[in-house]
């Protein structure tokens, strides 16, 4: 992109302005939380903690409710992601490559999930789950989180499949590969990275999903995010929350690194309608 500003290789003042503002507003708060995680004593009005240490890491990780929530979250998220991949990826392939009656209508129906105010929809679903006795159950939460991944796991893989150059596949057919072999050796590897990123983002998004888990899962099912809510509400020792925050954030960071390529591509934003 060409530079259109009048700047003659001078200071990029707007850039400096935005960078400073965003660093303070976005990185700042997280630094504070990070500092709290490694604090043993920090009393107002000290600008930095009086005493650093790892004591609270041991304490937090020693709590039974933390481990239960962590294990539960991992089980839940894995089940949801695997289920989602299993049912959505073949569907994505069908949407991307096959023609069948109602294809367009059904494809755009996946937008319906985003056409309603999200929590309002969750409440409507919860009302139904009440009657089905799914409230507070593992599978109730699985279902609700599964729906949350649908649009993501359909639209991005569809874009990935459509982006595979048909001529590569035709060249493979030309040298004698069967359709199944073409799919396995050409289509899947080509679309693979994008789909892998979608699956990863799905996993991370589900892990952090709060609203559905709280609404449907409470009180029996307490995922990590829900546990954090109770910690914040009950004003537990600050360090517990800070340690949990740092712990919770690690998978997010890993996802960030891997999914950068998908986020950068225009397909992602277009998937949200930009």
């Amino acid at each position: 992109m060409t530079t259109l500003t009048r700047a003659r290789a001078r200071m990029d003042w707007p850039g400096v302005f935005f960078a400073t503002l965003l660093t303070v507003a976005i990185v700042g708060p997280l630094l504070v939380v990070g500092t709290w995680a490694f604090t043993e004593v920090w009393r107002f009005p000290n600008v930095i903690p009086q005493q650093f240490g790892f004591r609270f890491w041991g304490q937090t990780l020693g709590r039974a409710d933390v481990w239960n929530a962590l294990m539960l979250s991992l089980r839940l998220t894995t089940v949801v992601t695997l289920l989602s991949a299993a049912i959505c990826l073949p569907a994505a392939y069908a949407f991307a490559r096959m023609s069948f009656p109602g294809r367009n209508l059904l494809f755009f129906s996946f937008l319906a999930g985003h056409a309603f105010p999200k929590f309002g929809l969750l409440v409507a679903i919860a009302a139904i789950f009440l009657q089905l006795n799914l409230i507070g159950t593992f599978w109730g939460v699985v279902l609700i989180q599964l729906v949350g991944t649908l649009m993501f796991m359909i639209w991005i893989p569809v874009a990935a499949f459509q982006a595979v150059d048909r001529r590569m596949e035709e060249a493979a057919r030309d040298v004698g590969a069967s359709p199944l072999r073409v799919f396995w050796s050409i289509t899947l590897p080509q679309a693979g990275p994008t789909i892998a990123a979608a699956v990863l983002l799905s996993f991370v998004g589900t892990f952090y999903e709060t609203e559905g888990a709280w609404l449907i899962g409470a009180p029996g099912i307490r995922t990590m995010p829900v546990l954090m809510i109770s910690y914040i509400n009950n004003q537990m020792v600050i360090q517990y929350g800070a340690v949990l925050s740092v712990l919770l954030w690690v998978p997010s960071f890993i996802a960030l690194m891997f999914a950068r390529r998908v986020i950068g591509g225009g397909a992602f934003a277009r998937g949200f309608g930009g």
């Binding site: 960078a19 105010p117 729906v147 986020i263």
Partner: protein
């Protein structure tokens, strides 16, 4: 080298497989889930709150739950604070994200990449961590208070547990997607289009108003719709950062359903939320459908 005939467009969808229903089989399960857990609940919520089963078991057209909502002082206050929060967030998001998106579109280099990375960053911070960080920074005796105290300034009136708490949190949370959607829209404005405008004498502001804005008006509306749909009924941040009363519709609905144990009341509130957002929802669906169809 085989010659490709002029004008033969290779179809994206392989129609040679015919309109066999194999595809239908593959998409059946996700579609079923979508219908059962999105479309049906919405219809069901509307239905059960409009046709009520009386004590004697007969069903009749009965809008009393809506009547209650619109006559109840408490409910109306909650609705009002929800509308206010959504509007303020939408305006703040535009005011913050449009300049950032414009800057990112028309600059390059490492600083620009850094700004972009920062703008996208909140997408990878879960809402609860955000809430926790908010309280640690802007809450009573939080970081801001500490810093102000260190330079002998008075402590701020914390926005924690006021309607401004959720506003700050929701804006922070929605910056990435808004910037991304606006950037995608700005991507369709060709550099030469802007240069041509400057060539005929338009200054930066005129270029923005006459050339860029008309081209991204759709993106802006999509970004707005997406934010509104997310913010209007959001739960986590208003629940953790906002006041107990008046509360936003999200926490209100949750309380009505799980604590007051009034499913009809909760569904009524949900349907009212649908109603207020319907224009945005329809617009959003139409926009994305048109975009994908291109």
């Amino acid at each position: 080298m085989t010659e490709i005939a002029e004008g033969v467009v290779r179809p994206l969808i392989d129609n040679t497989a015919g309109r066999r229903p194999v595809g239908l089989l593959l998409v059946a399960i996700p579609v079923f889930l979508m219908i059962w857990l999105v479309i049906w609940p919405a219809i069901n919520a509307i239905g059960r709150t409009v046709w009520r089963t009386g004590a004697s078991g007969e069903t009749s057209f009965d809008l009393s739950s809506y009547g209650f909502f619109f006559s109840d002082r408490y409910s109306l206050d909650n609705l009002a604070v929800t509308l206010w929060t959504t509007m303020v967030c939408a305006i703040l998001l535009l005011v913050i994200c449009l300049p950032i998106a414009l800057y990112l579109r028309f600059s390059q280099g490492r600083l620009s990449a850094y700004v972009q990375a920062l703008a996208i960053f909140p997408m990878f911070v879960p809402s609860i961590i955000l809430a926790f960080a908010f309280i640690r920074v802007l809450g009573p005796n939080g970081m801001v208070d500490i810093l102000l105290n260190a330079v002998d300034l008075p402590k701020i009136r914390t926005p924690y547990l006021t309607p401004w708490g959720p506003v700050i949190g929701l804006v922070w949370d929605n910056i990435p997607l808004t910037v991304l959607i606006l950037l995608a829209g700005l991507g369709s404005v060709a550099n030469q289009s802007v240069e041509a405008a400057r060539d005929v004498g338009a200054n930066a502001l005129q270029v923005f108003w006459h050339i860029i804005l008309p081209r991204i008006s759709n993106s802006i509306l999509v970004a707005l719709s997406f934010s509104v749909l997310g913010i209007f009924s959001s739960f986590t941040l208003p629940y953790l950062l906002g006041p107990a009363s008046p509360e936003m519709l999200g926490p209100f609905m949750q309380r009505t359903l799980r604590e007051v144990q009034d499913p009809i009341g909760a569904m009524t509130q949900a349907v009212i939320a649908f109603g207020f957002c319907i224009a945005f929802g329809l617009f959003y669906v139409r926009s994305v459908a048109r975009n994908q169809g291109k």
